[in-house]
């Protein structure tokens, strides 16, 4: 088993939790400032109050949700590569590349959020994942 490739995956897990705290740390004070009583009725969910909050607050939440989407494929691919003894060399670099690009994507989405740059960052990270996934196919098929 190739343990090294589990390191970038661990970093992305930790980064996702950083985004969780960033989201909560901006959303809760903003909700309070807007006079929204979060405890007023049961059943509410975070994104329900996004339309009432400033855009920059909702952006943190958008990115946290985003991190719960495609990265789930990344984790699965990393585990496959690790179990197939293919988690080194190019795949290891690609995994780190994916994580670094996703961190930049997060910071961009949470702050400036110009969509065309966000899209290019997402595209670049997806290519890292795609190449990893194709390598995973070779590593498991033959």
């Amino acid at each position: 088993m190739d343990i090294a490739i589990l390191a970038p995956a661990s970093v992305l897990v930790i980064w996702s939790l950083v985004m969780l705290f960033w989201m909560a740390g901006t959303r809760l004070p903003a909700a309070k400032k807007m006079g929204i009583d979060i405890g007023a009725k049961p059943g509410g969910r975070g994104p329900d109050i996004d339309p009432q909050l400033p855009d920059t607050v909702a952006w943190k939440s958008h990115n946290y949700t985003h991190l719960m989407e495609q990265p789930t494929l990344f984790y699965a691919t990393v585990v496959i590569l690790a179990l197939a003894d293919a988690g080194h060399g190019l795949n290891l670099y690609l995994a780190w590349g994916y994580v670094v690009l996703r961190i930049i994507h997060s910071i961009w989405q949470a702050t400036v959020n110009l969509v065309n740059v966000r899209f290019l960052l997402f595209l670049a990270s997806t290519f890292c994942l795609l190449i990893m996934a194709i390598n995973a196919l070779w590593a498991t098929l033959f």
């Binding site: 088993m1 855009d55 909702a58 952006w59 958008h62 949700t65 985003h66 719960m68 989407e69 495609q70 789930t72 494929l73 984790y75 699965a76 691919t77 585990v79 496959i80 179990l83 197939a84 003894d85 400036v112 959020n113 110009l114 969509v115 065309n116 997806t126 994942l129 795609l130 996934a133 194709i134 995973a136 196919l137 590593a139 498991t140 098929l141």
Partner: protein, 143 residues
């Protein structure tokens, strides 16, 4: 550890998801141009906002891409459990491939005709595969 055959359906579903990702953009980007969305100055928002602006059949690709990042996360986790528990062969391998096949059909229905009853039937069948794998995993790790 010998390379487990159960890694193959996992990889297949990951690559299928990437294909749907590609299908999403191949249809979305021309549709955004046609809808005259000023992407050069667009700030904020999420892909979900496009539900109000683009034709439904364009967004169906995005809906399916998101769908593929929902329940299949359980599938990947269960496959890893089965591999680590040494239960990654025989019936479990067949069920895993069945799950992938059903999810591919589910994708094709959702991104094209998108009749909800067909979609639901395929989703229900694929979920039964997850349940079967999860029960086998539970037996393997608790027994």
């Amino acid at each position: 550890m010998d390379t487990s055959l159960l890694l193959q359906p996992m990889v297949a579903l990951i690559l299928w998801t990437m294909l749907i990702w590609l299908w999403m953009y191949v249809t979305r980007i021309p549709a955004m141009n046609k809808a005259k969305i000023d992407t050069a100055n667009l700030v904020g928002g999420t892909g979900g906002n496009l539900d109000e602006l683009l034709p439904p059949e364009v967004q169906w690709k995005a809906h399916n891409y998101n769908h593929l990042l929902a329940e299949p996360t359980l599938f990947y986790a269960i496959c890893v459990v089965l591999i680590l528990a040494g239960q990654d062969y025989g019936l479990n391998l067949t069920i895993a491939w069945a799950y992938v096949g059903l999810r591919v059909l589910h994708s094709l229905v959702q991104v094209t005709v998108n009749r909800v009853m067909y979609r639901f039937m395929l989703f229900a069948l694929s979920s039964l595969c997850i349940i079967a794998l999860a029960i086998h995993a539970a037996i393997a790790v608790f027994h």
